[in-house]
Symmetry: C2
Subunit: 178 residues, 2 copies
């Protein structure tokens, strides 16, 4: 068991392939198995049941998942002001959780997309990353990671889609995709 991370880093999972959010969840589980605490903030996701919500309940309060969006898709070109407000509030909340330093790992799920769609400003995200407490590990997921975020990050993995069954008309499946 580990007490705290000596030095928390910044990880980014981006790209058009599958496995970004699930890698973050797997990382969360490995950390929980080592006695660490994990807080996941999901941008642009809300009121939809994902299997991971049940798991977070099982490990509460050491594993928290906070959904900060609506079930509807966000308009990437002209986002609804409601979605902008939800994402801005999510970022403020994330900043508070990170600064507090109570959770060893803070996952900002889909934050890259929230930036890309203009829901939150990159200039408001960067200082939060730069000023994080030393011991806190940050994990950012979502396509379209900004070059400035990649620059700051310690670890960047691109998930590349090589082959996908969606192309063959198979829909998202309960138990697997959610």
């Amino acid at each position: 068991m580990v007490e705290r991370l000596n030095r928390g880093l910044i990880q980014v999972y981006t790209g058009d392939g599958k496995g970004k959010t699930t890698a973050a969840i797997g990382l969360a589980m490995r950390a929980l198995g080592n006695g660490l605490k994990v807080y996941m903030i999901q941008f642009m996701k809300g009121q939809i049941f994902y299997g991971e919500l049940k798991i977070a309940q099982d490990y509460s309060p050491d594993f928290v998942i906070k959904q900060c969006g609506r079930p509807d898709f966000v308009n990437p070109v002209n986002p609804d002001p409601v979605d902008v407000k939800l994402a801005e509030d999510a970022l403020k909340h994330a900043e508070g959780v990170i600064k507090e330093g109570k959770y060893d790992i803070v996952i900002l799920d889909e934050i890259n997309v929230a930036v890309k769609f203009g829901l939150i400003k990159l200039e408001n995200v960067l200082p939060i990353l730069k000023n994080k407490p030393e011991h806190v590990e940050l994990v950012l997921t979502g396509r379209y990671a900004a070059p400035e975020i990649i620059e700051i990050a310690d670890l960047v993995t691109e998930m590349r889609l090589i082959k996908h069954y969606y192309d063959r008309g198979v829909q998202a499946r309960k138990g697997i995709e959610r």
Copy 2:
């Protein structure tokens, strides 16, 4: 909650980036959160504590992780006969678990590497994939996925290393990498 998957597919996570095994674990957790059962067979890993082992204990018997290797690194050029035997036994065990069909998702962790290093033969792996029960989802992880496996798979994601702190001399950290 889902009773069973109507149709299990074959997923592959490969490439030199991070997040292959953790994506498989995240996928396992999402499935467990939906009431599915998961069996993970880890090739070439053994007697080392990973955080996920603790998690599997928590969800036993619905989540099983079986380590089928030794703690030592496998020699990729001239693998020790002991490692060959362990991997061959792991594959036989995997075949049994898959055929039995009791577990909705069977994860063959690092199997791509076991094939690449010549511990197990591709010609022995392919029939297991082709003859899996309809409802069983297979997840194969590890670098160097063989073209024949990619051909059979429904979903293939390549994790690409864009930036890694190992390059800066940071070692694998307990709670994160294991």
